[in-house]
């Protein structure tokens, strides 16, 4: 997950690999939670049960939900941001359908589904398992504020994510962040509930047991933070490449630059888009300041690179194109 990928084939390969890595990590994490449950609450390995049943069940459930996240993550991402399919025969949405189809032709991929988010703030994201099962969602604000060329630039940026297979990784991450949060909550609750049992049934677990227990708790508490930081790191590197792919498709980097300026100028946060899907969007929907700073903290917590830096790079490309 490091280094700048040189071309879209490397990027696709890296995305396939990282998707599997994220899914495997998630399954192991869930198994780890189950193991803790077996060790500290049911007393596996001491005087309690003789078989780590919860661990096995947790691994199976983890594998199932990771697979589910890959297969139908897009549906839940779209649903959570209140996106509805944009009717193709409605004259108001003809333009966005046309623009998406144009860019799909340019990228040589099937036309993605077009979704509309009824939100006045301009923003957009792409999601899906692969280019044949992809969706692009735009807010009403984006349609209202942008010219046709600028809209083309934004759609081309999203199509870059589709073609580079960024959508697969980002959708899986989005789907699994929710699951990690839920599981952490569940784990911490069970621990509180089962705490009394543990002390009475196990008694002398030894120093090793205590250390393991502490590691388990710390992992449980840190998991949501780590998964968020992971999501952000995964997202940030991809934005520059998607900008560049977008410019390559339309041969008009200036239009995307001016679209980003308009999106940046709209200070309102995009309320429809939840924290868990922030890393999918073209610009940070939370409207937070951290994306505009550079430095260590910004590097860890920002979902997107500074928008001004992106505009500068695109303007440079536009200058070279003449």
């Amino acid at each position: 997950m490091s280094g700048a990928p040189a071309n879209i084939y490397e990027q696709q390969a890296a995305n396939r690999r990282n998707t599997l890595l994220v899914m495997a990590t998630f399954i192991l994490f869930v198994g780890f939670l189950g193991l803790g449950f077996d060790l500290f609450i049911l007393g596996f390995g001491s005087d309690g049960i003789a078989f780590p049943a919860v661990t096995i069940i947790a691994l199976l459930l983890g594998a199932f939900s990771a697979y589910n996240g890959l297969q139908s993550g897009a549906v839940s991402v779209l649903r959570s941001s209140g996106a509805v399919p944009a009717p193709a025969d409605d004259p108001r949405y003809r333009q966005i359908h046309n623009v998406v189809e144009e860019i799909a032709i340019a990228a040589g991929v099937p036309k993605p589904e077009v979704y509309l988010i009824p939100d006045p703030d301009p923003n957009a994201f792409a999601t899906g398992k692969d280019p044949a099962h992809a969706s692009i969602a735009v807010t009403q604000g984006l349609l209202d504020k942008l010219s046709r060329d600028e809209l083309q630039g934004v759609v081309a940026h999203e199509m870059g994510h589709v073609r580079n297979l960024d959508i697969r990784l980002m959708t899986v991450v989005a789907a699994l962040i929710g699951a990690v949060m839920l599981l952490t909550e569940l784990g911490l609750r069970t621990m509180r509930f089962g705490g009394g049992r543990k002390s009475s049934s196990r008694g002398g677990g030894g120093a090793g047991g205590v250390i393991l227990f502490i590691i388990w708790i710390v992992a449980l508490i840190l998991a949501p933070f780590i998964s968020r930081i992971l999501a952000m790191a995964v997202s940030r590197q991809r934005e520059f490449l998607a900008d560049a792919s977008g410019a390559e498709l339309t041969r008009n980097p200036g239009a995307l630059a001016s679209a980003l300026e308009k999106i940046d100028a709209a200070v309102e946060p995009t309320r429809s888009i939840k924290k868990g899907t922030a890393h999918l969007c073209i610009a940070n929907p939370l409207g937070s300041d951290i994306n505009e700073r550079e430095g260590f903290l910004a590097d860890i917590f920002a979902t997107h690179p500074p928008i001004r830096k992106r505009i500068m790079i695109l303007r440079g490309m536009a200058y070279q194109h003449g």
């Binding site: 003809r94 046309n98 032709i105």
Partner: protein, 188 residues
């Protein structure tokens, strides 16, 4: 014995390489055909849209009969085009005639505010974009196909199985390169 083994291994390696080379050429050829089909679909759509547009604007632009005639003539010529080079030339002429029509339409405020015309214009300009994107995609893939046939040692396989280079869809017509001339003087 070991010499024979090495010889057999080399033959097998060459065979595997030849099969891979052949298959990649076939894949590229299919992509080229598919890319051309994409252009064809969009060209057909443009041909279908133009009579609608001309009929709608006819009433408004009675002084521009000549321009409308030219669009219709260019459209009818384009429909009968055969082969990549011929289509490229005739479609280029049609693009030129159309852009002249759109430039002239700017002079008619009532025309510009007509909803049907607006929608037709959106459809047509989108089709124009689709044609140029499809052309961009087709030319990229056709170039890749042609290069794969020409570089050594792939050219041996290409020659052996009779692959022929694909024509590029090039803008040959002067009309598409030149800026449309707009006469802004008042008509008598």
């Amino acid at each position: 014995m070991s010499f024979f083994l090495i010889f057999a291994l080399v033959v097998v390696a060459i065979l595997i390489w030849a099969i891979a080379q052949y298959n990649s050429l076939i894949t590229l050829r299919n992509q080229v055909t598919n890319g051309w089909k994409q252009i064809d679909v969009q060209l057909k759509r443009r041909h279908d849209l133009i009579p609608n547009l001309v009929n709608t604007v006819k009433g408004y632009m009675e002084f521009e009969q000549e321009t409308l005639q030219k669009v219709i003539a260019a459209r009818n010529a384009a429909v009968t085009a055969t082969g990549v080079a011929d289509a490229a030339a005739k479609e280029g002429a049609l693009s030129g005639a159309l852009s002249r029509l759109f430039a002239l339409a700017e002079n008619y405020p009532t025309l510009k505010s007509n909803e049907t015309v607006k929608q037709l214009q959106e459809e047509l300009s989108s089709t124009e974009n689709k044609i140029s994107f499809a052309r961009q995609f087709y030319n990229d893939i056709a170039t890749k196909f042609n290069i794969a046939q020409q570089v050594f040692p792939g050219n041996i396989i290409a020659r052996l199985f009779g692959f022929t280079p694909s024509e590029l869809f090039e803008v040959t017509e002067a009309a598409e390169r030149s800026v449309p001339q707009v006469d802004l003087s008042l008509k008598k």
